[in-house]
């Protein structure tokens, strides 16, 4: 009798866990859930990033080191630390306005319109790309279109279509790591369907309790070249950033 109860109990426990596993798998495969998890990893109220950007030119490559402070999607301040030629150059973004301070001329200029579409220091990123940082869930409807292996890791392939106006890329394809909920590859498309940019993200590590890629390779698909590597030396999420970092006075300080 005891054996029978024991067996029923075991079967009950097995069914319970099976249901739990099924429920977890179903939830994980829900594209909205995936995006929530991605945003939880990738988005933050504010962040301080110390990064190195390697721009591959036709003849030679150069590395630019910078430190950036950002709060939400509207405020961002960056200072270039190296090479000597760029050292001291500062960039301030407030809402949709962008100012650049060049120490060589001791002047601050505001970028707008077509100038924002130019590449940042010859990279595959435009100033507009750097200013684009809203969370994916806020902007896109997601659809799970398959599963693929990227760099040996299992990923979900999501097709994202803009659900609000004013999104830079109305369609994206994201390859999301099934275990860590971090995009490992992204394709950004124009409204016409033309592939504009490709981003490869790698060296995912644990930072402040979240998974975050340390290396990103941006490739403007309309341009020739090997693309631009963005390597994060250190990153801090939700750190305290003084308010004066987001005033024009910081540029000449």
């Amino acid at each position: 009798m005891n054996t029978l109860y024991f067996r029923i109990l075991l079967i009950g426990i097995a069914i319970y866990f099976q249901q739990g596993i099924d429920a977890q798998t179903t939830t994980a495969m829900d594209p909205v859930y995936i995006l929530e998890q991605v945003d939880a990893n990738m988005s933050a109220k504010n962040r301080i990033i110390h990064a190195k950007m390697t721009v591959h030119g036709r003849r030679k490559s150069r590395t630019i080191e910078s430190k950036s402070y950002s709060v939400g999607r509207l405020k961002s301040y960056s200072e270039y630390l190296a090479p000597a030629r760029e050292k001291g150059t500062k960039m301030l973004k407030l809402d949709n306005r962008l100012w650049i301070y060049a120490p060589s001329t001791d002047r601050t200029i505001q970028l707008s319109g077509h100038m924002l579409r130019q590449s940042v220091l010859g990279s595959d990123l435009s100033y507009e790309d750097m200013m684009e940082d809203r969370s994916l869930l806020e902007l896109y409807d997601a659809k799970l279109i398959g599963e693929e292996t990227v760099n040996g890791r299992e990923t979900w392939v999501l097709e994202l279509r803009a659900k609000v106006d004013g999104v830079s890329y109305t369609k994206r394809k994201s390859w999301i790591d099934q275990e860590r909920f971090v995009p490992l590859k992204e394709e950004l498309y124009a409204k016409s369907g033309q592939l504009l940019k490709m981003i490869e993200l790698s060296e995912v590590s644990r930072v402040d309790g979240r998974w975050f890629p340390q290396k990103m390779v941006y490739k403007d698909m309309l341009k020739k070249g090997k693309g631009t590597e963005f390597y994060i030396v250190s990153i801090q999420f939700n750190a305290s950033i003084p308010d004066h970092y987001f005033t024009k006075a910081i540029l000449k300080s």
């Binding site: 707008s112 319109g113 077509h114 100038m115 579409r117 130019q118 590449s119 803009a162 106006d165 004013g166 999104v167 830079s168 890329y169 109305t170 950004l188 124009a190 409204k191 016409s192 033309q194 504009l196 403007d220 309309l222 341009k223 020739k224 070249g225």
Partner: protein
Amino acid sequence: MKLAIQLAYRNLMGAGLKTWLNVGILAFTFLLIVFYNGFMDGWNAQAMRDSVAYEFGEGHYYHKDYDPKDPFSIKDGHGIIQVDNLTNVVPILIRQGSVYPDGRMMPVLLKGIPAKQSILDLPTSYLQSDEETIPAIIGKRFAKASRIQEGDDVTIRWRDQNGSFDAVTIHIAKVFDCDVPTVDAGQIWLPLYPFRSLTGLDYQSSMFVINKEFDREQYPDWNYKSQEELLKPLKMVVDSKKAGGSIMYVLLLGIALLAIFDTQVLSIFRRQKEIGTYVSLGMTRSQVVKLFTVEGAMYSIMAVIAAIIVGVPLFYLISQSGITIPQSSQTTSLSISEVVYPKFTLSLIATMILLVVLAATMVSYLPSRKIAKMDPVQALKGKIQ
């Protein structure tokens, strides 16, 4: 007066090489002044003619939020033209974008214009096409800068009215030769109606160009700029260059006049006995002053005659064949053609003759005044006074 002219002529001929040196340098200066002013007038006329033909028409209407001098205003500076008859206007929609010739990214202004317009001389008929690829026309300056050739297919990218990126491949149907950089440099002209659809700005325009038949009533959302106002900056640039260039020929004219002045001073010093003789024979002092002044003025008359002999055939040839402008000068933001045809008008030549003759007469008269104070007896003796 007749006697004075006869005597002056004989004296000048008698002076030989000295006279011809003075006449030569004055004639050269005269030719240079006429040439420089003729060149600037020719450039001005050509620049104005081309600017009107390719860009200004009879005037522009800009949307109230669009300022051509402010790139910040392009994004929101557009609206619907409430004009009943569109035959007398050319609507233009302007957006900012990028072009990717051969894998390079370049910022450009994308301009939509009706293919069937006839107000501007732009070859917009090439924008009519049944092909799926959108045709486009570009100017030779931009073609050279971007290394895009006629027949090439290139990708352009822009943001639509909501800020989303869009990109298509366009076909360069024509590279036009135009001397107006403001319709050429960094610009791609596209057919208006497909361009409006692509940007999501149906019926919208940033500006419109009008012709003479257009009824210029007030349009509340549009600011009018007449052809004269549009041409004003160009005229100011040419006038400023003209003024800058005048320093050179003022200096040259100054040297020529100084030579005449020196000659006159030396003549009065060396020809004291002659002056004394004139007075002894019954000439008044003022008649002698007049004689010397006429001598000086005659340099300028002879210079003008010499300049006409040399200049008329030379300037006629130049005005026919024109002057080729170096490529480097054509890349400036000013409207300048490959060949500038100088414009030598009668008023220009008459003004320059008057200027040279009056200036030469003045510098001749100034030292001659000393004669009036001379004692004829001392002068006859040749004693320095």
